[in-house]
């Protein structure tokens, strides 16, 4: 094994360091690159063969500063939106996460009630019944892919409920979600932007049918009805409807999915932490946010500078792409004690960047926590442990930080 300072992350000249390469994330090798940047160049400029020139913001404090300044750092899809990869010209996807105030605020407020405390309370029993059903159907004493059988299944079921989407078609939701985030270079679902647009058209067509039903019916507490009746959303263009659908599908799907898988992996890798949790399930209060911090299911969010501005001594110019690496800020030793350790009883575990901060903070954060909490309560009640029996396969992406395969075995 290479010593810390022999690793290329520590020896490559700073000017040539590019932490955004999706291959680094697929190989789980991005960590030392971010450690180097936090120490030597916390706000750092690089050129990527995939994404062009961009700034990396890698420390907790600087990330919060960018989050709190939407006047200088725009999310607008017209400038490239919220991920490091610019969508091709002419194929921009307007959605409220990729808007600035006031439009962002108006559209967000249309869907916000879906996660209001009363609605979450109403969803609890349904989530528990589904979790129990999925867990009770898992094989014992044989190897299976946790991602496929639990993480994806549970999150698409939830999403189908939030949309009031035909339950038997629910796997279309994960298919559309994966199609929206796949990089053509990954050699997977989407080989070109034309393929992606064809899949998007199918998604839009399906949801337009649902919209037409809901717009002519009284308002209901599901996301499509809310959009169809909301003042700020009822006159959206088809492209904007599609954009907001993709936002809600990816936001409600990919993120929780990967935190569900990550939790299984971390508790396997840290048996003493699993033993603590098993002995005292009330530690889920801190274990759930700790899983979400440790996974950081979206590795970054991107902004575009609207004006020349200075950040941590670096001169950022209007038009520059600025990437806030949540995955790095969540391991920032100046903000979080022993950040590389996974601790189910971490003090102030809720203080992490995985949901973002400021006006774009994750709408569904408490729903995500609720799903993870119920899942782990029921796992602890049923299984002595969940063994990870092979190498996890990770996604080729520096935006979605997650898994396609997690081979596990539950003892018979």
């Amino acid at each position: 094994m290479l010593g810390a300072t022999d690793h290329p992350a520590w020896t490559t000249p700073l000017a040539a360091l590019d932490p955004s390469h999706p291959g680094l994330f697929q190989a789980d090798e991005m960590w030392p690159y971010f450690a180097r940047l936090r120490r030597d160049a916390p706000v750092h400029f690089a050129e990527s063969p995939f994404f062009g020139p961009y700034w990396s913001v890698t420390t907790w404090k600087d990330i919060v500063q960018v989050e709190l300044n939407p006047q200088a750092f725009s999310s607008d899809s017209g400038f490239g939106g919220i991920s490091i990869r610019d969508r091709p010209k002419g194929l921009e996807l307007p959605m409220f996460i990729a808007k600035d105030p006031p439009k962002h605020d108006e559209q967000r407020k249309v869907v916000q009630p879906i996660v209001a405390p009363g609605n979450l309370a109403r969803l609890q029993d349904l989530i528990r019944a589904r979790v129990c059903h999925i867990l009770d159907g898992l094989p014992r004493g044989e190897t299976f892919n946790w991602v496929e059988h639990v993480s994806i299944e549970l999150t698409v079921q939830m999403l189908a409920t939030l949309f009031d989407f035909p339950f038997e078609d629910r796997r279309k939701l994960s298919y559309w979600s994966d199609s929206a985030t796949s990089l053509p270079q990954a050699g997977g679902l989407v080989d070109s932007e034309a393929t992606r647009e064809a899949i998007f058209a199918e998604c839009l067509g399906y949801f337009t049918g649902l919209w037409n039903q809901r717009v002519n019916a009284p308002p209901q507490p599901d996301l499509i009805s809310m959009l169809a009746h909301g003042e700020a959303t009822r006159n959206m263009s088809p492209r904007e409807f599609l954009g907001n659908l993709i936002l809600l599908i990816v936001g409600g799907n990919d993120t929780t999915r990967n935190s569900i898988s990550g939790g299984v992996l971390f508790l396997h890798q840290n048996p003493a932490e699993f033993a603590k949790l098993k002995a005292d399930p009330s530690l889920l209060d801190s274990a759930v946010p700790e899983i979400i911090r440790y996974q950081t299911p979206l590795a970054h969010m991107r902004r575009t500078a609207l004006v020349d501005t200075e950040l941590h001594g670096q001169r950022i110019r209007a038009g520059d792409k600025v990437v806030m690496w949540y995955i790095s800020g969540n391991r920032d030793e100046t903000a979080i004690e022993a950040p590389d350790r996974f601790l189910v009883d971490r003090k102030r575990a809720r203080q992490h960047l995985s949901f973002g901060f400021g006006i774009h903070r994750c709408v569904g954060n408490r729903l995500a926590e609720l799903q993870l909490r119920i899942l782990w309560e029921e796992i602890l009640r049923r299984f002595p442990r969940i063994e990870v029996v092979g190498e996890p396969k990770r996604v080729f992406s520096s935006f979605v930080h997650g898994y396609t395969d997690l081979p596990v075995r539950i003892p018979a």
Binding site: E67, L68, R348, R350, F355, R361
Partner: protein, 106 residues
């Protein structure tokens, strides 16, 4: 030290002394009072230390700035007397302050 009363959504009261210069959020977190999450640690960046200021005290707690107003506006439980507790500094004039908590923080 000023005495502050925090009332949980279920009506349970907590009376604690909070040092001058601390925020009302810190007073809750340091005394492990349930109902204030304070996810961002006091940066006015998450709205999970949302409280309702007792109307009698509204004149003395100051007015929220634009950032705070914007964050509070996304809370589905927001009311006219909503504040983020991290943005209220404890002063001698706040001795006796009463704040209530919403049903949940998110």
């Amino acid at each position: 030290m000023p005495l502050i009363t925090y009332i949980e959504h279920n009506g349970r009261e907590h009376k604690v002394e909070v040092p001058l210069g601390h925020s009302v959020m810190q007073g809750a977190v340091d005394n492990a009072i349930p109902g204030i999450d304070a996810d961002c640690g006091g940066e006015c960046a998450c709205a999970t230390c949302h409280v309702f200021v007792d109307p009698a005290w509204l004149g003395r707690t100051g007015t929220p700035d634009a950032q705070e107003k914007s964050m509070v506006s996304f809370a589905s439980t927001a009311q006219a007397n909503s504040r983020l507790a991290c943005q209220i500094q404890v002063t001698a004039a706040l001795d006796g302050l009463v704040v209530r908590m919403p049903e949940a923080q998110h």
